[in-house]
């Protein structure tokens, strides 16, 4: 049986842990609202661009001269997995779920005889992926220097990916991130980003649209932009998911700490009473002996 003092110290320690988890929960709730608003604000641009790229892609027939971003390299040997994680922990299984999905895909591709390489975004994915695939990481992007990943970061990531693509380092790229469903549910999601899967063309209103310059030139210019937007969208989803996961995890932690405190307090009170009783018995026994 732990001594009274030990119990008291233990209770205090759990209490301060609870304070931390409670604070983190509230911070996450506030940040979640912001991240959600940002994700929502980015939607008009993404849908419009997808519409335009879709309608353009449906007009252009794939040929030798088609932009490589749309047509691909003609091979599917080397697969790049772009894994977007958060920089901070304290968000439950959020990061490990994304990493798990990526590893699953990687093993599946290796079993098919393909080569798998990784490009990592964010800090939390590095260690677990390096443990399983120590030599497969060909690049990473550090987001720890900025408060929240924005379009500038998405641009930088896309640029690096395009450089790797042009250098022939990979044929197909998939993006892994946590899709935000609700504060309670975040889905690890895979999305092919290179070659660009043509979005479904919006129903055209039958009007003849003029293009300046021609369709193919516009498409060639829009594809990298579409890639950037996709990555930007993934970063925003990720940010919202992280906060959602963090909020849920911290809510659970706070509740667990509360239960632990209750249990310890009961134990503390019992031992205190036992000590008092023993003392009383001793005094009475002493008095009777006289």
């Amino acid at each position: 049986m732990a001594s009274l003092k030990e119990l008291k110290l233990r209770i205090n320690s759990v209490k301060s842990t609870q304070k931390i988890t409670k604070a983190k929960q509230m911070v996450a709730a506030a940040k979640l609202r912001k991240a959600q608003a940002a994700a929502e604000a980015a939607r008009p641009y993404a849908t419009r661009l997808a519409d335009v790229v879709g309608s353009l892609a449906s007009r252009v027939t794939l040929s030798e001269s088609s932009p490589r971003l749309l047509a691909g390299t003609g091979k599917d040997q080397v697969h790049l997995l772009v894994v977007a994680n958060s920089d901070r922990g304290l968000c439950g299984a959020f990061n490990s779920n994304i990493v798990k999905a990526a590893k699953l895909k990687a093993h599946e591709l290796t079993a098919q005889g393909k080569t798998v390489v990784f490009y990592l975004v964010g800090r939390k994915g590095r260690v677990p992926i390096r443990r399983d695939f120590p030599k497969a990481i060909i690049g990473s992007f550090d987001t720890t220097t900025v408060r929240e990943a924005g379009f500038t970061e998405a641009e930088a990531i896309a640029q690096e990916l395009l450089a790797l693509y042009d250098a022939g380092k990979f044929d197909i790229a998939h993006l892994f991130f946590g899709k935000f469903r609700s504060a309670l549910v975040q889905e690890p999601t895979v999305q092919q980003i290179v070659p660009v899967p043509a979005p479904k063309a919006a129903v055209s209103d039958g009007a003849v649209v003029q293009y300046e310059p021609d369709e193919e030139t516009i498409l060639a210019e829009l594809l990298p932009r579409y890639l950037r937007t996709q990555i930007f969208g993934a970063l925003l989803e990720n940010a919202a998911s992280e906060q959602g996961a963090s909020m849920t995890a911290m809510d659970n932690a706070t509740r667990n700490a509360g239960e632990l405190i209750k249990k310890l307090t009961i134990q503390y009170n019992r031992s205190r009473q036992a000590a008092i009783t023993t003392e009383l018995v001793e005094i009475i026994a002493g008095a009777e002996a006289l």
């Binding site: 008009p44 641009y45 009007a207 003029q210 293009y211 310059p213 516009i218 210019e221 932009r225 950037r228």
Partner: protein, 84 residues
Amino acid sequence: MPLHFELVTPARLVLSEEVHQVVVPGTEGEFGVLEGHAPFTSTVKDGVIRVWRSENGHPEEIPVKGGFAEVSAKGLTVLAEHVG
């Protein structure tokens, strides 16, 4: 008749309002868009978009980078990566 003009960046919807005329710096030359313009799609070079809110007013100038303009029956939409 007003023209519905929208300026969108990846981060947010910057502008969405009824205006008189917009002059956009297209890659192959500037073009002005009034109400009822034929459907038209063009890339936009880095430059300044000029927006006339009324026929005789002064244009408002909005610098854009990495843009793309689309004219449809619904109006003019400019997608730009950077605004201002």
